[in-house]
Symmetry: C2
Subunit: 301 residues, 2 copies
């Protein structure tokens, strides 16, 4: 990501970067920004003292500060908290956000936060660039932080009509330097798409896991669960707190997508009722081909 | 698995072993039986000439033969075809099955095959030991065969009341030598459990993948699908032919389990409708804890 030639340093983009919430995403963003030479100093803040201490020890951040200090010193502030917490921080941030400071975030849903920003930030709304890096890992916390987490990953920015083009460009540039592929779309479109490809799978995996675990013969079932079960349910192990916020923030789009998935399931169950061999095979083949095509395109089978 | 001391060879269990269908499961069984020293000669047969040729080249089998030849020469015959094909082979097998030959299989559903065996095998029913190794891989065909595929994996045998105890012991011994953990249960119980932990996840993943792939904005959705989507849908890429047979053979149990999963999903959707934060978190936590516990127990996170 960085050149090893000391005479050819990549330009500094944001002299001081502050990260609010130094877990997997915030910690990885800090690590990637540092590794790319995009920031000179990285401040960390957040409600979890132990995580901040750990982030310091791991060298992810240079200094643990309060949110007001972060806002005073930083050129760019990244909110990397769970979705629910980000919205509630905006009221603290509003009076302290300097005119040249850019505020961005990494939340998994965007529309609710954009509405909150419009309500709370007032004249400073143009300085806010909502964003969502489509990257994650099974592990959480600063220990899981990885400077390469965003390499070749999509980052979706959802600017409002008011968003300052200079602020947008600064956030785009920083993510690009972290190795990400940046795109923009309206917040509501982002939320509908993510409901489909992220939130609904999580809800299905969780409801399925809940059903198996609450069955009278759960132990016997789980003893015979194999590698298909393992992969299908992996996401159900994700943080209940993080996912509660995502489901609450995006529940309209999620419920709408659940309806669509139920219709597909109705169709498949009808084929089973009818014991319609060739149509069952066609249905499964359509799904299999789509999955294989996606894996080939995404280069991540 | 085998001792390297030539003076301490593990005993030969089945001098001649025949495998019908030399794909992933049949090929791996052949490889494991050979590696463990349980068989001296391994015959292969099946409808796919190219696979047989490939299995010969890979050294999985010693000789490609016809099904009648296999039945004449082998001490044990393993049916490792898709579930639908196994039942239709029984009529050919019945008149040719020698009195000391043991017939077993590796199909993913058991009740329908047991019914077919009862109808077709007549006085030779005691020689048939139905079985199901709970092991698989993303890849298929003889190239994917792996002598270690069954190591520490469960193999469920579903003997009938008529099954000969000697035949049962021979199949148990061979699987144990292949590194598997062998257990027995009635065929209907096996099918209900596998409907829950294997067939329903496949159906959900396929129906979900079908729904995303047939959406008007499928390309945009798939471009933003990440690692959660990848794992959740992996099984949907499985062989449509193999899974068609599984769903047809076990459709009653699968439809019943789908009903249970729908009830769990109804419950979760109701919580979203009510925007009931703490109950949503409880639900997700129950699922997450169950998944983490399972991963810890299964030692395969």
């Amino acid at each position: 990501m960085t050149s090893s030639d000391p005479d050819c340093k990549p330009p500094l983009l944001e002299p001081v970067l502050a990260v609010v919430g130094v877990g997997l995403i915030g910690g990885s963003f800090a690590a990637a920004a540092r590794a790319s030479g995009a920031a000179r100093q990285i401040l960390g803040t957040g409600r979890d003292r132990a995580s901040l201490q750990r982030a310091l020890e791991l060298g992810l951040i240079d200094k643990a500060v309060t949110l007001p200090q972060a806002l005073e010193e930083a050129d760019m502030v990244m909110l990397a908290t769970p979705v629910g917490a980000a919205a509630s921080l905006l009221e603290t941030i509003q009076p302290l956000l300097g005119a040249n400071t850019v505020l961005t975030d990494a939340g998994s849903t965007k529309l609710e936060l954009v509405h909150a920003a419009r309500r709370v930030l007032g004249s400073k709304l143009p300085q806010f660039v909502p964003g969502h890096p489509i990257a994650g890992a099974e592990r959480a916390g600063p220990e899981a932080a990885d400077a390469g987490l965003f390499l070749q990953r999509h980052v979706v920015l959802t600017p409002t009509p008011e968003t300052d083009t200079g602020a947008l460009a600064r956030v785009q540039n920083l993510w690009t330097r972290c190795g990400a592929r940046v795109m923009s779309m309206p917040a509501d479109r982002h939320d509908r798409i993510l409901a489909s490809v992220s939130h609904v799978p999580h809800g299905l995996a969780a409801a399925y896991m809940w059903q198996v675990a609450t069955a009278a013969d759960a132990d016997e079932r789980l003893a015979l669960a194999g590698s298909g079960f393992r992969d299908f349910t992996r996401i159900a192990a994700g943080s209940p707190e993080v996912w509660r916020d995502i489901f609450l923030a995006n529940r309209q789009a999620v419920l709408q997508e659940f309806d669509e998935v139920r219709r597909a399931l109705d169709h498949f169950e009808q084929l089973l009722h009818d014991a319609d061999a060739s149509t069952i095979e066609d249905f499964l083949e359509r799904a299999a081909l789509a999955r294989r095509l996606w894996a080939g395109r995404a280069q991540q089978p």
